[in-house]
Amino acid sequence: MEKIDKKILIVEDDEDFCSILKIKFISEGFFVATAGSGEEGISMAEKEKPDMIISDVLMPKMDGIEMAKKIRETNKDVVIVFLTNIKEVDYTKAIEESGEFDYWIKSDLPIAEIVSKAKIKLGLK
């Protein structure tokens, strides 16, 4: 398997889904770090310096949107994408209108497509 010189930080409080993503990205040759909450996501983003962060929105302690904003204050380059099951327009519109972050709907995308979209975002395709 060919290694890809890109690191993905997965921020997800659901252990199963986090594990699925991690296994898939690793199997595709990515370096992967994980965090289980927004707070942990911030410290992992500082420590691991990922190229891309894929984050859930609703999480304990600190939600994904707040985490992304905090990370953006110090890191302008990292690609941040929300991977959520929330379809409520109130949420998605707010994320969309910020113009800074993308959001993908978990249940609408096969895992392979998530990886494929991540590669496009990182300019690998």
Binding site: D16, S107, D108, P110
Partner: protein, 538 residues
């Protein structure tokens, strides 16, 4: 023959009315310290006014001199008892105990002084009034003391008016203030002849002071003052007219006075009765209005509670649906990893089972999504996110290709005539996909022979027509088709046992949220159906 001057009538009337109202308030109201303190004040005012009447009515100096003492002692006591009443009204009698002791001490000193030449040197006629006081060297201390207590009382009332949140007390304080201005203002003019050589014109206002305070002390109900004012006015009229009978100059005058008195007596009684009746009616209306308002408040509260319960229920449903989707997404994810070989090569049978597992899980996710959308529509939350540049033709082509397999398995046709050109529209692609999918999927599900044909017409609006040769619908069913959830026709249950009866409702809600419309037509049961979906172009 006795004739009374207006000044004398005013003094007598103030004495009578003051005593009457003090007793009226005390015996009609609660027997509390406040009403007792007002009774005391009223008696003192009555004594003072009677003293005044005695002085101005007496024709001999000795009698007038006796009344002058009554007048002065009464006058000195008025501020003392009034202050006590006011502080009871404000429930501040303990806080201002020092002030009360001061007024009592000053008042007692003045009473002692009142028996000396320093207070008054004699009495003599003034301004056409029989007798009036000739002040002594220290007389000025009396009006100064009187003015000081009045000033303090006024400050206390104004201060309390702004401090209190009690609306009833505020209303009472307005009356108290008006009474103070009229009564004490009028009372102070009684000092004018002996100090400034000015006629004591304000004496006529003192009676109003008694009326205002009695009303305020008894109640703060606006209708009652009308009764009290009417009664007082009538009693005063009766009193004057009855006195006039005794002062008649001849038989003719006597007959006339008796006639006028009898007429006024009758009309006065009728007037009081009328006012009482009116007040009772108004009170009844007011009570009814209060009852209605209370009922309205209860209803409002009940509605609020119901809305709250409904909101909680919907929020609970939404939370449940989110929680359901999370493990379902993982189930689909794991099956994808198994299928794509991430966990190694699987045998054919296992792959078949995983595929079925994935299909069922995806079906569950779709169902949860539909429930979630319905709940959100019912909650009135924004579900649709319109974006420009949506190609409806390409969308239908995609849905048709997804449903083709299903139609082929049933042995029916699914045709889509793709037009050469249709304009791009503003839509929520994913939601519109759900709506159209549900309508076409429904048509296939409920068609056993023949098939389904989809067309797009481009006019003022974009019209999508789905015509099938399926089980059709009765008129009653057609009417309820898009309005109800979880309700299905009998034929529909026979043809497709697993339908949930939410697809068309959701489709209709989504299309409506696109500012579009959807309607269905059917010649009747067994005669097929046509669905017309219209979407705005701009």
């Amino acid at each position: 023959m006795i004739t009374l001057t207006l000044f004398q009538v005013s003094a007598l009337l103030t004495a009578a009315v003051s005593l009457f109202l003090g007793l009226f308030v005390f015996f009609n109201g609660e027997k509390n310290r406040l009403n007792f303190s007002w009774l005391l004040t009223s008696i003192v005012i009555s004594v003072w006014s009677l003293g005044l009447f005695g002085v101005v009515f007496s024709t001999t100096k000795n009698i007038a001199w006796f009344w002058q003492y009554i007048l002065d002692i009464g006058g000195i006591c008025v501020p003392v008892v009034y202050l006590n009443f006011l502080l009871h009204l404000l429930k501040k009698e303990r806080k201002w105990l020092g002030l009360q002791i001061f007024s009592l001490a000053a008042g007692s000193s003045l009473i002692i002084l009142n028996f000396t030449n320093f207070f008054k040197t004699g009495i003599s006629p003034k301004f056409g009034i029989n007798y009036w006081i000739d002040p002594g060297k220290l007389y000025l201390s009396f009006p100064l003391y009187f003015a000081l207590i009045v000033a303090i009382a006024t400050i206390v009332v104004i201060r309390e008016y702004y401090l209190t949140a009690d609306k009833g007390l505020k209303q009472q304080l307005i009356y108290v203030l008006m009474a103070q201005i009229l009564g004490f203002g009028g009372g102070l003019t009684d000092f004018f002849p002996q100090i400034f050589n000015i006629y004591p014109f304000g004496n006529y206002f003192i009676i109003l002071y008694v009326i205002f305070i009695s009303y305020a002390a008894l109640r703060h109900h606006l209708f009652d003052i009308k009764v009290i004012a009417t009664e007082l006015f009538t009693f005063a009229l009766w009193a004057v007219l009855s006195i006039k009978i005794f002062l008649s100059t001849g038989m003719q005058d006597l007959a006339l006075n008796i006639g006028v008195f009898a007429a006024v007596l009758l009309f006065g009684a009728l007037l009081i009765r009328g006012v009482l009746k009116e007040v009772k009616q108004r009170e009844k209306i007011e009570k009814m209005a209060e009852d209605i308002e209370r009922a309205y408040e209860v209803e409002k509260k009940a509605n609020f509670e119901l809305e709250k319960i409904d909101k909680t229920k919907n929020q609970f449903l939404m939370a449940i649906q989110h929680h359901l989707k999370t493990p379902l997404t993982s189930m689909v994810g794991y099956s994808e990893l198994l299928l794509d070989g991430t966990y190694g090569k699987q045998n054919k049978k296992t792959i078949e089972v995983i595929k079925r597992f994935k299909l069922s899980s995806s079906g569950l996710i779709k169902m949860v999504n539909e429930f979630l959308d319905i709940t959100q529509f019912q909650l009135g939350k924004g579900v649709i996110n319109l974006k420009p540049g949506v190609d409806v033709s390409a969308l239908i082509e995609q849905i048709a290709s997804e449903l083709k397999f299903q139609a082929e398995q049933k042995g029916i046709y699914l045709k889509f005539e793709k037009p050469e050109y249709i304009p791009l529209i503003k839509a929520d692609l994913e939601k519109l996909r759900v709506a159209l999918f549900n309508i076409f999927d429904n048509a296939i599900k409920y068609t056993q022979k023949g098939g389904v044909e989809i067309k797009i017409e481009n006019g003022k609006v974009l019209r999508i027509i789905s015509s099938d040769t399926g089980i059709g619908m009765s008129k009653e069913r057609l009417q309820k088709l898009f309005n109800s959830t979880f309700e299905r026709g009998d034929d529909a249950k026979k043809t497709n046992a697993t339908g949930r009866g939410i697809g068309l409702y959701l489709a209709s809600e989504i299309i409506k949220a696109h500012n579009g419309s959807v309607r269905a037509e059917s010649e009747g049961e067994g005669k097929g159906s046509s669905f017309y979906i219209e979407l705005p172009i701009s």
